[in-house]
């Protein structure tokens, strides 16, 4: 049961990280010179989104 719940929870995080990567890729395509700044922003955004998914992971383990 908790595994199913975690699977559902991770959908949101997947969409979130996908959006962050989409933004970074589009930004780099439009303006290649800001690539390193965009990478930093992407990593930060992904880290914040991912934290939610990982809290779900830990809760699924604890039950």
């Amino acid at each position: 049961m908790s595994v199913i719940g975690y699977g559902l929870a991770v959908l949101g995080a997947g969409v979130g990280i996908g959006l962050a990567a989409f933004g970074a890729a589009t930004g780099t395509a439009r303006q290649p010179e800001v690539r390193s700044n965009l990478f930093q922003i992407f990593i930060l955004g992904a880290a914040f989104v991912e934290a939610l998914a990982l809290i779900g992971f830990v809760l699924a383990l604890i039950k």
Binding site: S36, Q40, A47, L54, F57, V58
Partner: protein, 264 residues
Amino acid sequence: MEAFKQLSAGIDHFISTLLSQTIYGNDLVGITQYHFYIALGIILLFVFVFAGVKKLELVPKGRFVNIFESIFEYIQNSVVYDVLGPQGRKHLPFLMTLFFFILINNLVGNIPGMKPGTGTIGVTLALATISFIYFIVVGVKSQGVFGYLKSLAPKGLNPIITFVIWLIELFSTALRLITLAVRLFANLFAGHIIIAAFALLTSLFFIPLLQQFTLGNLVGAIPSIAWLAILVFIWALEIVVSVIQAFVFTILSAVYIQIAEEAH
């Protein structure tokens, strides 16, 4: 499928080995396996650093020194100076220590048979607490106790709304401690379990062939090649994740310091 039934038992056993186990002394005073791995990581780091700075030159020539310097410069420029600005120099030693400590401990876990020193919640919570106390002290130093508490909420709003935002911000600041710790722990813990799952699958499909050489067992062992390929891929991914998580922890610490330092 017999192999998949054995897999879940194998994973349960593997998770139990990831828990902190005393290898010397008793539970109260003793050395657990994670003490050992952290000590190993620190020794490796010292070996690398001393091998790097053995011969100090203005223009370093050794390949080893250059690798070390390029990592250092990348973190210096992309984390410290980009986030904190030129006055971030005073936080450089703290952030760099944090980065290299986490990096070496994450990478130790990628050696087959080893476990990452940062793969237990106790260690990551300690690291997160250090970072948490550091940015609060920086905030209090630059703005004073009440100034720092007041700076959590933005100025120029209706007092009731300001109070509500202040409460939310206080909660989210306290939550930083937990998210910093859980992010690092869960990434390494989960990565380790995934590697173990594919390693177990590879061996479980291959074992019948070793016990008895028949055509059926030979066909049954074919999926093991695919499992091995996935295992190698996941392993490479885990090495990347180790580096990225060290980077993320450092950059988040830098961002929190920057938020604490600047007055709203």
